[in-house]
Amino acid sequence: MHAPAAMSASGPSLRQRLAARGFDAVTLLVLPAAIFSLLLFVYPFAFGLILSFEPKSGDWLANYQRFFSDSYLYDTIYKTLALAIPVTLLNLVFAVPVAFRVRLMRRQRLLTTILVLPITLGTVLVAEGLLNYLGPQGWFNRTLLTFGLISQPLRLVHNYWGVFVSLVITGFPFTFLLTLSYVTGIDPALEQAGATLGASAWQRFRHIYLPLLMPGFAITFCLSFVQAFSVFPSAVLLGEPAGLTRVISIAAYQAAFEEYDYSMASAVAMIMGFVQLAIVVAVLASRGLFYRGPASGAKG
């Protein structure tokens, strides 16, 4: 670190001592990406945080005071959570049994390819498709009417359920593929050992897979939740963006691009990030409780 020390003939040179700590020419390769991330990710975030405390009028907390005193604004948190949490839980609950079944398939590729479609196509296309498909004249309602399950078309678009369905369509494959990768990552010999000792399918799941998979499920939940929480295009196109599906990202967008109040928009974005972080930290902290069990020893 100190130049004079590097010049002494007896000790190792600065270069050698840095290399021993892991800093050499190869380590420097990380710099371009790191600088890029600092400039375009950390700096905007810090800038947004400071900007959120510099409101157009009022004292430094005025934006946050306005957010938490105006029900039109603070309600967006509940509305977003009311969409994101049920959708994430539903996706995870469905994804686990399906992943355990698909794991036994020899030709998984066709199914995984079909399931990757909605992720690749993205939320805008899914919203456009669902507008037609779930609409009063769409094939979905038509099929239910034909089978006599309903007497008049269900109202499935421009409300809560339209957004809910779109989040399931894009979220379920995402959750499923993540779960599948965790499930297939576990050595089948462990399950076979359990079966040899007479464990039933449920016992094998409960006592072998579940403890090993718990950390993976926690991460899957976090990633799926964060995706659902950031819903924007389908909440505008498929929901009622002025009513029940006025999610927090719509509030942030309107502040920035309709009121041109970037300070307020930054405050809403910070609140949005904070809520996500709180839920993710809570889930990952509870993951720590599971992870200290015998699961890590079994992988050894």
Binding site: G22, F23, V26, T27, L29, V30, P32, A33, F36, L40, F41, F45, L49, L51, F94, P97, V98, R101, L104, R109, L111, T113, L115, V116, P118, T120, L121, G122, V124, L125, E128, G129, L131, N132, Y133, G138, W139, F140, I169, L177, L178, S181, Y182, T184, G185, I186, V226, F229, S230, P233, L237, S249, A252, Y253, A256, Y262, V268, A269, G273, V280
Partner: protein
């Protein structure tokens, strides 16, 4: 693999398959609706349209200026793929091969843009880009799209690089290769499948990346997915079939690359890497 043969297990399996079938049928029917509608002359209150036509494609192409939009889309995506490849692979190499103080912090820095949804960091990012005058321009859109793709390449490439035996590099070093030669003659050939997979995934993700492009794009720097959003948003101004034709063009653009990508990667890798115990 263990297969249970009890009645309960069979019923359970049937229920799970029924669930999968229900999901897949609805998904395909949803896509089918868009495709059918784009070829329909008039489609109201019937199972199938009255007649078939391809004229909506011509009208969508001219109404939405899809030629220009497609050129912008491919320019943006191409730049994003090139830059994120160059930045991501080099950083991934350093992170895979060296342990240094602050490495965990750095990995966290690269993980955050993937964990935080684009709309959350997109709004402060757009604010900064508007202040610097980059927003609305081609390079503003590229810069915004790079924020999640550079970390994505890094995190996909780290395990690829870790699985390459460091002894190969040590041998190359013994024979006098410098870092650049080592990269070109030893690492690049070994890493090529991984790089190709990572970049194809970046490509597919960038075509479909709505939020970031939407927040920073101007009228001349819109990508296809943003143009589609505006078309659906202003539905009623134009014929539904015309918007659906545009949606089909978008689908084809994305799916061509998806099919190419799937020749090199497992579908699971679009979300995560399979068959590997993820590091915690």
């Amino acid at each position: 693999m263990i297969r249970d043969t009890t009645l309960g297990a069979k019923l359970w399996a049937a229920a799970v398959w029924a669930l999968v079938a229900f999901f897949v049928i609805n998904l395909l029917a949803m896509i089918g609706t868009v495709v059918t509608s784009s070829f329909a002359t008039r489609w109201l209150g019937t199972w199938l349209p009255i007649g078939w036509t391809t004229r909506w494609y011509a009208s969508a192409w001219s109404e939405f200026q899809l030629g220009d939009v497609l050129i912008v889309t491919f320019q943006v995506v191409g730049m994003v793929v090139l830059i994120s490849g160059a930045l991501g692979v080099t950083a991934a190499y350093a992170l895979a091969r060296r342990d240094f103080p602050g490495k965990r912090l750095l990995v966290l820095l690269f993980l955050l843009p993937l964990l935080i949804p684009p709309i959350t960091f997109g709004i402060p990012l757009a604010t900064v880009l508007y202040r610097t005058g980059l927003a609305g321009t081609f390079w503003g859109v590229v810069a915004a799209n790079l924020v999640p793709t550079v970390p994505f390449v890094i995190l996909v490439m780290i395990p690829f690089i870790e699985q390459i035996d460091p002894k190969l590099e040590a041998a190359a070093r013994v024979f006098g290769a410098n870092t650049f030669k080592l990269f070109i003659h030893v690492l690049l050939p070994l890493l090529l499948p991984g790089i190709l997979a990572a970049l194809l995934l970046v490509l597919v993700r960038t075509i479909a990346m709505f939020e970031l492009t939407f927040l920073v794009a101007g009228p001349t720097s819109q990508t296809l997915v943003v143009a589609l959003y505006y078309a659906v948003f202003a539905a009623g101004v134009r014929a539904v079939q015309s918007i659906d034709a545009m949606a089909v063009i978008y689908m084809v653009t994305t799916l061509v690359w998806l099919i190419i990508a799937l020749r090199f990667v497992n579908p699971t890798q679009i979300v995560t890497r399979a068959k590997q115990q993820p590091a915690h």
